[in-house]
């Protein structure tokens, strides 16, 4: 049933030309240089220090590394992060 639903969504993306983040639950990340990062569609904060932010996604994790990280604002599905960002890593669940 779940597999079938996923296949239907992929078809919808291809046929209707819809943006992927709307249809399949992946995050939309907007970055302004290395200074600011705006992440939509997250599922909660896993770990937050000055050098690292680990966010839970529907299907894995998002790891942001940097320096002097500050969460300027946080909502249920959105995070605005500021600081000196040095790396973004996606960790996919198998």
């Amino acid at each position: 049933m779940r597999k079938w639903s996923r296949r239907l969504r992929r078809i919808a993306i291809g046929v209707l030309d819809l943006p992927q983040d709307v249809v399949i639950e992946v995050p939309r990340v907007t970055m302004i240089g290395h200074l600011q990062m705006y992440i939509e569609n997250h599922r909660g904060v896993l770990q937050f220090t000055e050098h690292e932010l680990r966010l839970l996604l529907t299907n894995g994790q998002l790891l942001v590394k940097g320096d002097k990280l500050v969460i300027r604002a946080i909502l249920k599905e959105e995070v605005l992060l500021e600081g000196r960002i040095s790396g973004v890593t996606f960790i996919q669940n198998a």
């Binding site: 909660g44 904060v45 770990q47 937050f48 220090t49 990280l69 604002a73 946080i74 909502l75 249920k76």
Partner: protein, 407 residues
């Protein structure tokens, strides 16, 4: 995403959170719909964030759940400001009293300016304004409006034809337009017109008064030409006589003209000199060597930049020297007579007045002696011979004061 105005007006706090499960706290808070921002992690078990006051109270059950402790670091916004103001009530009262005082003081008139007066003294205007209720220190609310004021001030100053009152802040401006007095007719004393010189009347025209002489009549100085007494024996009246009398007057002028004359004539040689002026010092710049002429005529030009009353102490002077040369000029007798006539005419016209006309010119006598020509010329000139004479002779205050050009 953030509403700064709302944050300030409702008040927000900066809190530090001590505890191991900081991330869990944030997730729970977000899920509950709390607004938190500026989240930082300072140490592994110490975080900091900001939140609204209302949300701070909703945080308490979540803290219990995660086992964290909060400590308020900073309070910001209007509610806290009001609290602090309550503690300093006297200070706040002072601010408001000051503002009220400033406003109250601005409802008075502190300064009155009178504009446009030339003959009326400003004190008179100020006094009239004071009577109407406008003076330094009067309260604007108790005062009538400017239209009424200017009406009253105008009634108080008969010499003013218009008064405008304008109040700008604490300053009242009274603009006065003065009445322009009509020209008073000059009252003339009754007078005669008499002859100034010995003459034969050439033309006589009386505007007022009675003509006493006829054309071609010989008159002596002081003889009445136009009488100021009019009427017959029964009824008489005195008037200021006025009119125009022209008479033929004779002059004889003697002129001596030397036949050999020494004159200075330009040779055409000249020299330009440039000087620099600094204060009262003069410094020649060009030329290095100057030529001095035996006879010369100097002309000078100065350039000194000036701005209104201030002039720069530095300037420039240019001098031109023109060389002159003595020359002997010989004249014939005929030329000498011409020169004599020219001088004599100028002299006669000076004696006779500007509007005089030379009627006749006759050379009476020419004599040559010792290199000089003696010439006597006779002139008959038509000129104005009228002169005023007051009729009341007891106090001749202003004999010729009133000329006959009044009308």
């Amino acid at each position: 995403m953030r509403n700064v105005v709302k944050e300030w007006s409702e008040g927000h706090v900066t809190v530090t959170v001590r505890g191991k499960r900081f991330e869990r706290l944030i997730n729970l808070a977000v899920r509950e719909g709390l607004t938190i921002w500026n989240i930082t992690r300072k140490e592994p078990d110490l975080g900091q964030c900001e939140m609204m006051i209302a949300d701070f109270h909703r945080l308490r059950p979540l803290l219990k759940e995660t086992g964290c402790r909060v400590h308020v670091e900073n309070r910001n916004g209007l509610p806290f400001l009001l609290l602090r103001m309550r503690a300093r009530a006297g200070f706040v009262m002072g601010i408001f009293l000051f503002l009220i005082g400033l406003y109250m003081l601005s409802t008075f008139v502190w300064q009155i300016e009178v504009q446009g007066t030339q003959n009326i003294p400003p004190q008179t205007v100020l006094r009239a304004a004071g009577k109407a209720g406008l003076q330094a220190g009067s309260w604007k609310w108790r005062m009538d409006n400017p239209q009424v004021l200017q009406q009253r001030i105008k009634l108080d100053i008969p010499k003013a034809s218009y008064v405008a009152v304008e109040i700008i802040g604490t300053k009242a401006i009274i603009q006065v337009v003065e009445k322009v007095e009509g020209e008073k007719p000059i009252i003339q004393d009754s007078k005669h017109i008499v002859a100034k010189k010995k003459a034969v009347i050439h033309s006589i025209f009386a505007e007022t008064g009675k003509t006493m002489v006829k054309v071609d009549q010989y008159v002596e100085p002081g003889q009445v030409l136009i009488s100021g007494i009019i009427g017959n024996d029964q009824r008489q009246a005195l008037v200021p006589a006025n009119g125009k009398v022209e008479g033929e007057v004779w002059y004889r002028s003697e002129v001596i003209v030397p036949l050999i004359q020494n004159r200075l004539v330009y040779t055409g040689e000249k020299q330009k000199r440039h000087y620099l002026l600094a204060g009262s010092n003069v410094l020649r710049i060009w030329p290095f060597e100057t030529i001095t002429y035996k006879h010369e005529k100097k002309t000078e030009k100065r350039y000194q930049p000036s701005f209104f009353d201030f002039s720069l102490p530095i300037g420039w002077k240019m001098e031109i020297d023109r060389e002159l040369e003595p020359q002997i000029v010989r004249m014939t007798e005929q030329e000498a007579i011409e020169v004599a006539k020219r001088f004599a005419r100028k002299d006669i016209l000076k004696q006779a007045g500007e509007d005089a006309k030379i009627k006749e010119e006759k050379v009476l006598h020419v004599k040559q002696e010792n290199g000089k020509v003696y010439i006597s010329i006779y002139y008959s000139v038509i000129e104005n011979i009228a002169m005023d004479q007051p009729i009341i002779p007891q106090v001749p205050k202003q004999e010729a004061g009133q000329s006959n050009q009044n009308n």
